[in-house]
Amino acid sequence: MGNKETPMLELVDVHKSFGDVKVLKGISASISKGELLTFVGPSGCGKTTLLRIIGGFTPITSGKIILDGEDIADLPPNMRDTKMVFQSYALFPHMNVRKNIGFGLKLQKLPQKKIDDRVDKLLSLVHLDGLGDRTIDRISGGQQQRVALARSLALEPKVLLLDEPLSNLDANLRVVMRDEIRNIQERIGITTIFVTHDQYEAMSISDRLLVLNDGVIQQIGTPSDIYETPDNRFIAEFVGYVNFLEGKIESFDQDSSGLFLVSTEYGDISLNKINERNFDKGDEVFLVIRPETVTLFPSDAQDLPNMLTGKILHSMYSGNLVKYTIKCGDRELLIDQYNPKDSIKFKRGDNIKFTVPRTVHALPKKG
């Protein structure tokens, strides 16, 4: 029962081709019991295909899908212990809420009393008490979403699959439902795979993210791993905005502070020993500079370490922050200044200085 050691679900070298088109090119990943893992990536990256492969709706080309110690790759959906919440919810239009939720239980030939009890519990779990007798067309989109969730949870599957479940809801409801899904998931401790193309949704709901692009896993990690220490340029650009600065490792202070010195066109920047990567002197790197990590100063400010100079091209005020576009040499950088009320506001044309933190993440230019 060592949950940490034996994953609930393990994907082993999963390949999928539609004709000549390779959609998934060797996916291996595992998800432990009670975890919420999100497949995220741009449209066409294969995330929905991967989810459907786990659910049994799309046959696999090669590889293994090991669910709790059994390879289920050959099993049809109705023989798998995974349950899916579909993007369209796929509620049965000719049944009421109660019958929808109880559908799977009924197929298991449970006594009606038991089904009723269980359905009642589920109705209150998803906050739909009293709506059991409504027909599907008489409840709202958000409520339909809850019914779909309850219907899948009814069978207590080993893994719950959610296929872009929030994409049909309006912006406010998305946030509410996102929090609620996470809440229910954590409360009952069900292992869950969530698919979305929305990186913010992915980061805010998940224990870990699996970022897919072009059928290949780009990175698996916690939301902060992905955002703060992306493995490559694609990841860095996929989650949030990023400024890249090209540079070259000039020296590495082995004994004292452990600082790297990176030279860029616009000045030298020293960095903390970075992400356990083995950089050598002379390596070319990209510095991953998030807009909110940069601090702006007026041009007459005294010099600080890692300080570069630039000029304000454009500013856009939006309450909680000001978005500046600055010109630095021949490059444009985007910088977010939070809490504008308490900071200096710069105008177009102002000359400024800015500092880059030592914690900035660096990526090798090649590979």
């Binding site: 659910g55 049809p76 796929a90 049965f92 559908f103 799977g104 069978l155």
Partner: protein, 559 residues
């Protein structure tokens, strides 16, 4: 790590079988349906082809040689084509006139004209043979009254009867096209100074052309395939469909009957292909956004009266035909002895025939609806090769002349392994499979509205294919199922061309009974049976219309 993964090798045989069955159930069903289509549609047709090329001494072209060397045979083909073409040309014009009046004419005229144009739908095509004989036959009302000596057993008779019978087909399709034209196109033409005549010539007709062509082709196929009218009114003029029947009942010459069938089938297949694959999706879409309601303009008098000159006589002919049928059912001999009698209506033999027809139609309808719904599902959702062929086969029954399938059935099911001749099953299967198209198409269009995720959800929750089909798909597709049922029921009721080959003596069907009594000149009995049949058909139509209103699934328009 997962040291003991259970894979396929560790599973029991029983579990492996379960996996296989659950994964392939839909394909197993598809295989079964394919077999049914192959046996009950393809096999009879193949038999017709074989029989036309296979004599006592094996493979031979001699039957085709014979066909082309005797003018009785090839004239039968030429006459059929001439009949098809004339009816097609006439009905394009008449159908267009009716459609024009009911879409752009004065409001008060629209509904009455529409009713007239659609009335023939509620009756079998051969009703017009009976009414024409009653009106213009040797003892016909009009002949007697005006002392005319018109011969209705002639080309004129056949063409008039066919035109009246298939007017609804042409009318509905052309009306549909005109209705879907954006009125602002005509308004803008008029705004630029075009007269109504110019608008018709330069806008209305060119825009309607693809749709009208489709209507024309359909009319052609239906006309050449029709058995009743040419058989009753054709007299000595040879036509393919009745000749095929005579070849079998009169001479027992199956080879020649097969040749005639093949010759009749070829134009039908060509048109079926043109219609389904070349013209598919052709046509103009001119309505974008919300169409605005338009007040009809007054029609230019010349145009209005020219069209009325065509439309009114036809409408009168139709009304008169129905009137004399009703009259004929309740009087001794129309026009000769107009005393009221109920005997025709109460005739035992006629009632038995109606009863048999209802029984047959119920069974064919049920069988056809089940097979049609399943087929629609398998064609739409199956993942196997050959779905297109399956769909084509399923829809072909509609395009092929009833006589051809009838001939095929007697040859295919007269001996083991499929010995069905003489049973009611041969009739049920014949009707169910010939009229499958409507059920299949209704099912397919319904399935287009259902997200495939619904079925996936059902499987996900643990249902196998059969459970999913009965608990989820069938309830959602129920309207399509009912539509298929009623439609098959209705067409089976009226169908004559195929069943006439298959009925056994002593087992009367309404359609056959009407045909035989009409041939014998027993017009009162024929009329009475037709009236009873029409009442049943009208009820069916009303139910279909109600279904269309409730569920938006309109198979009448589709046809």
């Amino acid at each position: 790590m997962a040291e003991a993964v259970i894979g396929n090798a560790q599973r029991s045989l029983w579990y492996k079988i379960r996996i296989f069955v659950n994964s392939h159930l839909i394909n197993i069903f598809a295989g079964g349906l394919f077999a049914l289509l192959a046996i009950f549609l393809a096999f009879p047709l193949v038999m017709v082809f074989i029989k036309s090329l296979w004599g006592d001494d094996g493979f031979t072209f001699s039957f085709y040689q014979e066909f082309f060397s005797y003018n009785f045979y090839y004239w039968s083909f030429l006459n059929t084509m001439i009949l098809g073409l004339s009816v097609m040309v006439i009905l394009v014009v008449v159908g267009f006139c009716f459609a024009y009046m009911t879409t752009k004419g004065p409001h008060w005229m629209r509904t009455p004209l529409k009713i007239c144009a659609l009335m023939p739908l509620c009756a079998p095509p051969y009703i017009f043979s009976i009414s024409l004989i009653t009106l213009f036959g040797r003892n016909g009302m009009i002949n007697n009254f005006f002392n005319l000596d018109l011969n209705i057993y002639s080309w004129t008779g056949v063409i008039v009867a066919q035109c009246l019978a298939f007017l609804p087909l042409s009318y509905m399709m052309i009306e549909n096209v005109l209705n879907s034209q954006n009125p602002s196109l005509e308004e803008s033409a008029s705004d630029m100074g075009a007269s109504e005549f110019t608008i018709i010539r330069a806008i209305t007709i060119p825009l309607a052309a693809p749709g009208v062509l489709k209507a024309a082709l359909l009319v052609f196929v239906m006309t050449i395939a029709e058995f009743g009218n040419p058989a009753i009114l054709g007299g000595r003029i040879p036509f393919l469909a009745p000749d095929t029947y005579l070849m079998i009942t009169g001479e027992g010459d199956f080879n020649m009957a097969s040749v005639l069938s093949v010759v009749l089938m070829v134009p039908c297949i060509i048109i079926f292909i043109i219609h389904n694959y070349i013209l598919k999706g052709k046509g103009y879409t001119t309505i974008v956004g919300k169409p605005t309601a338009v007040d009809p303009k007054d029609m230019t008098p010349v145009i209005k009266y020219s069209i009325l000159a065509i439309v009114v006589p036809v409408a009168i002919m139709i009304l008169l035909s129905f009137a004399v049928i009703f009259l004929g059912a309740f009087v001794k001999i129309v026009g000769v002895d107009n005393t009221f009698v109920i005997d025709h209506m109460l005739n035992m033999q006629s009632n038995t025939a109606i009863y048999n027809s209802v029984k047959l139609s119920l069974m064919a309808g049920l069988f056809g609806a089940i097979v049609g719904t399943l087929l629609a599902y398998v064609i739409m959702r199956g993942k196997f090769k050959g779905r297109k062929i399956m769909e084509m086969l399923a829809l072909s029954g509609f395009a092929l002349p009833g006589t051809v399938i009838g001939v095929g059935y007697i040859m295919a099911f007269n001996s083991p392994p499929f010995l069905l001749a003489g049973t009611i099953w041969i009739l049920i299967l014949n009707c169910a499979f010939r009229f499958l198209a409507v059920g299949v198409e209704a099912g397919i269009s319904k399935l287009h509205q259902i997200s495939i995720e619904i079925e996936e959800a059902s499987a996900d929750l643990g249902a196998d294919f059969i459970t999913t089909f009965f608990k989820v798909i069938l309830p959602i597709m129920f309207s399509a199922f009912i539509a298929g049922f009623i439609y098959t029921f209705m067409t089976t009721m009226m169908s004559l061309s195929s069943v006439i080959f298959l009925v056994t003596p002593g087992f009367d069907l309404a359609a056959v009974y009407i045909y035989l009594t009409a041939q014998l000149g027993e017009l009162g009995l024929a009329s009475a049976a037709t009236v009873k049949m029409m009442l049943i058909v009208v009820v069916c139509f009303a139910s279909l219309k109600l279904l269309a209103k409730k569920t938006g699934l309109d198979v009448i328009e589709k046809k």
